[in-house]
Amino acid sequence: MEREHAVAFTLNGERVACRPAARTHLGDLLRAEFGLTGVHLGCEHGVCGACTILVDGRATRSCLMLAVQANGTVVETIEGLTERGAVADLQDAFHVRNALQCGYCTPGMLVTAAELLAEEAAPGREAIRAAIGGNYCRCTGYHAIVDAIAAVAEGRAAREGGGA
């Protein structure tokens, strides 16, 4: 049985190919092979949420998916989301509200928040808390993060409402 496998997928909008070992998880591949160090590895067992990325548009723990399983998928990391401006308002709101201190959890928080707001235009604070419940922050105490996400939800609703 092969221990390495040819893999091709779309990474932040570009087609890429590589040959990871089966044991390598996707987070390690993205960091080591592609230099995407915004994928923060915290616990490497699915608990902390810092390594969360989008796979086929769904928030995914990159430490709980094997790199070989990325074959044929569309992967987006915080770098890709940042470049195409998909989380610009969230990043601004995190900055304004001081919703980070050390920043280690921030990429995972932003990806999780991006998925939440894509699915639910006006989540309440409880829904925001439930959504980020799988993302550990050991600095801020979460209130500022919830504030920032809630502010973006209101901002997006106001913009869409104003444009209608």
């Binding site: 490497e44 699915g46 723990r61 430490c63 094997l66 399983q69 999780t112 959504a131 419940g133």
Partner: protein
Amino acid sequence: MKAPEVAYACPSTLDEALTLLSRHGDEARPLAGGQSLVTALNMRLAAPALLVDLNRIPDLAGITRRDGVVRVGAMTRHRDLGASDLVRDHLPLVAAAVPHIAHPAIRNRGTLGGSVALGDPAAELPACCLALGATMVLRGQGGERRVPADAFFLGLYATAIAPAEILVAIEFPLPEPGAVWGFQELARRHGDYALAGLAATARRRERGLDAVRLVFFGVGDRPVLARGASAALAGAGIRAAQAALDADIDPPDDVAVKGRTRRHLARVLLGRVAGGMLEGAP
């Protein structure tokens, strides 16, 4: 930590997967959503020689209604289970349980079959399967066999799945008229494994309930159908059921809480869930 060396195969048919499992025996592990298995690999709690990835096999995922059952493919992800109209309409117990499973990113990838095949005693979906009287559909090279949930969960992470068999689907009977249900769990934080949880089904009569199935999770080495408490709830009400529960479960002490605390929490859950079912509003 990092996973140990392992080989990987990504079969495109169920037969191919069964052949690989049969050829490699105990050394091979099927890989479903990976939200527990990849964790175990990373922590080196599991070290199979070969992973047989089930994610690219067509027809293992999906939810259909036919012949009096809702059939859920084993590779159906928690997120899709929770979003399904068929599940919402016919298996509201399952729909209520899904949001309690870990967190959104885990639900995006974790599967019903993976959860049931792992048999974690604190997991929500095995308890729901037992409460709803589901049937597990297993496939091996010799063909298909069907195991009722009552005979499926055998112990800590132990199920009736034989070596080189794959859980391919779970069939839930459509609820009968008058069916009621309840689901609650107590965890320190949302998304944590429950300190104690209860998935319950029953049939509402003019006075009280019958066909009661109270299934507790997080209180033993597998999901526990509390037979004494279920019978007492049907015959004599909530207080009698709570008293009978003491003989049904025997939660051990562990690092999280004492067994007697879990026993207390289970009684609390019984009161809340049974109260809801008696009112007809889960």
